[in-house]
Every structure is written in structure tokens, then in C-alpha cells.
Amino acid sequence: MKKVFIPLIMVALLALIPYVAVTYANMSYLFGVIIPYAAAFIFVAGFLWRLFDWLRRPVPFPIVTTCGQEKSLDWVKQNHLESPSTRFGAAVRVLSEVLFFRSLFRNTKAELHTGPELVYASSKWLWMGGLAFHWSLLIIGLRHARFFFLEPPAFIAALEHADSFLELTLPAFFMTDAIVLAALTFLVARRIRDAKLRIISLQTDFFPLFLIGGIVLAGMGMRYLEKVDILSIKALMMGLVSFSFEAPGEIGALFFVHLFLVSMLAIYFPFSKLMHAGAIFLSPTRNLANNSREKLHRNPWNKPGKFRTYAEYEDEFREKMKKAGLPVEKD
């Protein structure tokens, strides 16, 4: 399982670099200021470039994948979500994918039984795991806003409160921390255990999972185990968002591991499959309205082409056509 171990070792090495550099070489300025700035720049510029690079290419044909009844006769009930006929409907469809993973919800598992007989069972695990993973990451990301504001916005505080309502530990345990770890474990395990997933997975599929796992573990370590100086962190982060280049104060090395892995994720993001975050909005099978017979869709590179005209056809078959009693243009 080379493709599992190599990315795992890569992430371990990445985690080790800042730990050693900060602990033994006092390179906290590099890892606390320079690399985060560079990473943020690469992330933003790279993300925008990738979006631009997709958007500059035309969508020549309206290739909607219709997953429900089209708009047709008045009395036939249209499926507005799965076969939208307006741009608004298409936007709702895309949002249903982005927010709720609509298409994954359809997922089934096919099994070959004796007979031979194919049986399809509903399979919502991937949908649940994926949804738990992405939503937890979003909430965790939003929770981090408290490091960037002197006084975090009210909804962030509310979110934090809701996330920690179980109050299992001190400081209060965040449910999303557990959920994201469970989801990550599931997402890695299925790639190793399921024979189908095992053969389709590449190193580049394991790497971001391990990387995010490393980030989460380092973050949790700081909160629950190896306490770091929160006030210095907050000072550093608020400095970073106000474009200050001040050196970080005394913070535990674990923080730099966390921050460095986040930086690596940010750098890796625009050049990898993680760009599916942007692509999902642009997918032409989902974001177009199924109204291609009603409204003309234009293709910017469409040119009038040569084809065999009726005149050429009649020239070849005129005598045969006349014999068969078919009307002709020229005698």
C-alpha cells in the first residue's frame, strides 16, 4: 500500500519541519509570518486563476443531465429541482448540490447475487460521511474567527456555544472535532477497505485527508492537551489579518505545526482536486437550465459548416427519384 504510506510519511515530515525549526532553530518568524503570508497569497491567487481558467473556456452546448421530468405540456408535472427550466431553478439545483450533496444522496450499492441477479441497496454512508466532513470543516473554520476579531461576531459566538453544548471537558469539547475525526477515519478507511475505492484511489487522494487529519489533531492537541498561549496566538493572527509583519511571541511549537500544515493545505489547494470546491459551481450538467429547445443556446466557436445539400443529393439521384414519382427541383 505504497499509495497510503507515502502520503502519510509526507504529512508526518511536513509536521516535523516546523516543530524542529521552531524548537531548535528559533525560526518562528519564518513559520509564523512569512510562510502563512506566502500560502495565503498562493491560495487566493491560485484559486482565482483556476476559476478564471475554467470560466474563459466556453460551454458550447447545453449538456444538462436531466434527473427528472422536463418542462413540457401544461398538465405534465415538471420536476423543478432535477430538471429546472429557468436560471433560478438551475441555481437552486447547484445549491442543493453544494449545501446538501443532492446527487450523493441518490447513491446506491449494487450487489451481484446468485441467479445471477443484481440488487441495488440504498447506500447513504458516503453522503453522510461527506456531509459530516464538509460541514464540520466549515463550522470549525468559522469558529476560528475568534482569533481574527477582537470581539467575534455574535453568530460565531452562538455557533461556538452550540458546538460545545455537551460541555464534556474543560475547555468545552467541540462536537465538530469529534465528527470531523470520525468522518476522516471513515473516508480513509473506505478507500483502503472497499475493493473498488482501493483501486481508484491515488496518492493524491490520501494526501489531503492525512493533511487535514494532521491539522485537526494538532489543533485539538493545542486545545485539550498541550496548552499553548492563546493570547499570543490571537495577537499574531490579528496582526496577520491587518498586514502587520510583527514577530510572533512565545507560542508552543505545536501551534506552528498546525499553522504550517494549514499553509501547506492552502498552497496545495489550487493545484489539486481540492478545487472541486470551485468546480461544483461551474459544472455544465448541473448549472444550466433544461430549456435548450425553448431558448437558443449560443456556441461562440460555431461556424457555418459544409454539408451535403439537397441540390447535391438530387443531382446524384434525380433519375431514380423521377422514376419513383418523387418531386424534383430541376428536370
Binding site: I6, W54, L55, R57, V59, F61, P62, V64, T65, T66, Q69, E70, S72, L73, V76, E82, S85, E97, S103, R106, N107, T108, A110, L112, T114, P116, E117, L118, L126, G130, D194, K196, R198, I199, I200, S201, L202, Q203, F271, K273, H276, A279, I280, S283, P284, T285, N290, N291, S292, R293, L296, W301, N302, G305, F307, E316, M321, A324, G325, L326
Partner: protein
Amino acid sequence: MSKYAPRKAQLAREFLEKPTPLKGARADREWWEMPVDFHDGNWCFPGKPETLKEIGFPNPRKWAATDEDWQLPDGWQKIIHDGLKERLKKFRSLKLYLDACVRCGACADKCHFFLGTGDPKNMPVIRAELLRSVYRNDFPMVEKILKGFSGSRKLTAEVIKEWHSYFYQCTECRRCSVFCPLGIDTAEITMVARELLNLIGVNNNWILAPVANCNRTGNHLGIEPHTFVQNIMSLVDDIEELTGITVNPTFNRKGAEILFITPSGDVFGDPGVYTMMGYLLLFHHIGLDYTISTYASEGGNFGLFTTNEMMKKLNAKMYHEAERLKVKWILGGECGHMWRVVHQYMATMNGPADFLEEPVSPITGTKFTNAASTKMVHIAEFTADLIKHGKLKLDPSRNNHLRTTFHDSCNVSRGMGMLEEPRFVLNSVCSSFNEMPENTIREKTFCCGSGSGINAEEFMEMRMRGGFPRANAVRTVKKQHQVNALVTICAIDRATLPPLMRYWNPGVAVYGLHELVGNALVMEGETPRTEDLRENPMAVAEEGEDDDA
């Protein structure tokens, strides 16, 4: 059965005994280390040199997939490389779908070819990886450096063989794209891969011969105008014998209100001809002012399976002929890929058709606003509207000898979204309609296994494998409801499903929707009907009836 397919028992045993990822068996190596295999039954004959010359396609030569040397042209790597580059500029879908896949595996067990072979390279995600791995080697900057990491590989002659094998084990049916959380459509990838292969003369005769025919004579079968007319007139005679009614189709008639275009399979193929008889009876019944063209005598478009330019070129005849004949609008017959082209490509490629009018049913006055721009209406929409308005005199009991189920054609369901109209028509013309299991119909329908130009006799083993999920679903309703009639609205289905049913489900015959309409129509002045359009007795159903010969 065909010499190109193993016996059913043999295939069934293999399904149960062979360890595959479908059954949870782990592969012993990575997919790119698995060799390509060509044997009788799993490859289509290549295009004949004279066919290629006729349509101006490159590298005409005699070759076979089983040859060691495929005689690729000089500099073929550059041709593929440049061809891919050009298409990446033209199609956002291609670039996006090559870049964005996360290999979540939701598509893995959705492809009928994977379900029928267990071959990992038939998982849609790997099918796309076949091209993606080469793309990653040459294009995006960072992945280029991290070769092993991102799963990229060099373009070799072996890769071309693999592409030829697996991009012709994809029917562009888009079932995978229904389940993909990003909407990645393997058909977009397959279409481009086939275009690229055509650039270096790696091709399929079952596609290119109809393309050449269609270009010259107007239809896939290469039927010349006089023969085309003769054949329809022989159907007119058959109708007269069966019903006592003389229908009067006209050909190439200027000033008709409607131009009717249907796949040529309906004019020449069995059982398509019975569907054609259904259309003719229907049009007579309502007194439609229509004409049929011998020039635009093909609804289907094998250009769709070849190149973009070829699709456009063949499709151009429809509007060209409609303009010449000065009709008001076009009515299209039952066909799958024809409707993918008409619904999603035609107006964009060859429109706008400003010389036509917004379609209005001359019988009911219904405006087909959903076809306001393309000006082409599907016959199932047209007939459903007629029935809803009570314009047809129907006796559904005339189809009592048939216990039906309905096969949604991939293109019509997933490339158009027409699901209810054919069901409404079917329910109005027969008394026994039974749906197949939920995960095998509507947008989740299984392909016939032979669409997109792989309906060749020499490809029979793969066709029986690819069609297995569809056949299996039919088997379920055959057992539960004694279904003996598989109804479709696709001419390719009418050609491909009969052998599939003979192989997996003997006793189930394949029907067009309008054949059943033709059976049920009570014509004014008809002689008492005792036989259906196939000359089978209409009265009581016979057990295990098998009439698809």
C-alpha cells in the same frame, strides 16, 4: 446465438465465480498495470479504408484490434497532444471534468459495463482516468512535477489500445453523471477521446459506415430515395391488409404543414417497421398534413459518436430540408440519441431556425412552448397531447395480449427529461403496464448496452454483458408480472434489445410505443381487427409467447 458471445450459462457462471472488485475482491495490481485484452466478442471491426476516404478521415488502412502494430501515423503522439489541447480550449466541460474529480467512487458501480464485466477499468472514474492520467502528464503545471503522486503516465501505443477498448465500452449513457456529486459526465470525456482516436485512424466501422451512408443517401442504412419510398409503401400495403385502411404518406412534398423525421431503422428494421406502421395509422387517424423526406431520411446521428463537426454536418439536413419544403415545424419519431442531438445540440449547431414557426398541434391547438426555439416536437409529446384532449379513439384491450414494461432510453431520460409522456401514452393504449425496479428506470435507467455505435455483431459478448443490468431488471418484472413486452421509444433499443432479450430473457419481445398506439387505434371504416401489427392474434395472451424473431 452469435459466435461472438459465450453461452449464457458460461457467462452466468463467470459472474458468480470470478473475483472482481464488484464482489469485493481486491485487485492484485494497480489499474494501469493491467494489460489490455482483445478477443473475439470484445472489439468492433475498424472502419474500412474506402469508408474513411469517402468521409475524408485520416489514416485509412486495413488493420484489426488484435494486431500487434496498429499502423498509427507518424507523429501520432503530437496529433493526440495537439488535439487534446485544442479541445480543452473549446469545452469547459472537458477541462473541468478532467480537473475536478475527487475519485469519491459514487460512480463506480453505476456503469452497466462494470456491472456486466467487473472490470475495474469500466468504473466511470477509471474510464476518465485513462485520459486524465495522460492529461496530467502534459498539462497542469504542478502535477506534471509530481508524477507518481498524481497518477500520471506517458502516452504510449499501449495507452491508445486501452482507450480504444474502453472508450468503446462506454455508451455515453450518462448514468454515472446522475450520481456524481460534481455532475461529471463521462460521456463528455468519451466523446473527446473518440474524437482524438479518430484523428489517428483508430475507429469503428459500425459507426463510420452509417456516417458515410447518411452523408450520401440521407440515412444510416444507405437506402436510396426510390427504395426508401418503396419500403414505406410496402408498409402501407401491410396496413391495408390488416385494417382495410389505406394510409397516404407523401414524400418530399412542398407546403406540407409538418415534416416528419424518424430513424431509418423504423423504415427498414424489424421490429422498427411496426412502429412506423403505428405512426402512419396515427397520422391518418387525425388527418395530419405531413410529409416524409427521402433526403433528411434519418433521425439518428452517428456523428454524435464520431466528431462534433460530423454531428453538425449530418444534422444540418433537417433544417435545410424543412426550409426547402417550407413546412411550419418538424415532428420527430421515437429515438434516443437523435433526441439528445435535437434537444441539446441542433439549434445551437445549425439554428436558429427562424424560417419555421413555433410548433402548434393542428388537432388540439396546443402550443409546444417548450420547443419554441428548436421547433421540433417529440412524437410522444405530440401523441400524449392528442390523447389528453380525447382526439384519439383507442381500444386498449386490443393490446391485452401484451403485458408491458417500459424501458427509458438513456438519452431521452437523462439528456432531455422526458419521463411521463411515454408512460401516459402507454397507459392509455394498454391495460397491463408494470414498472421495473425503481433503481433501474427513469433518470436511473440502464442503457441497452449497445448504444453509441457499438451495436455490432462482432461485439456481442460485450453487448450481452453491458445489457445485463437492463435485462436483469426486465427479468424481475417478467417473473413478478409475466411481462412479455418491453416497450421503448428508441430505434437503437429496438435493434439491440431483441438479441439481449433472447439471450437473457427468452419470451420477452421488444415493441415501439407507437406500435402499441397503432394496435389500439380504432380507425374509421376499418375491417374488424383480429391481429396486431405483427400479425399476432390480438385476443388472449399466450403463455411464453416469443415473436421477436
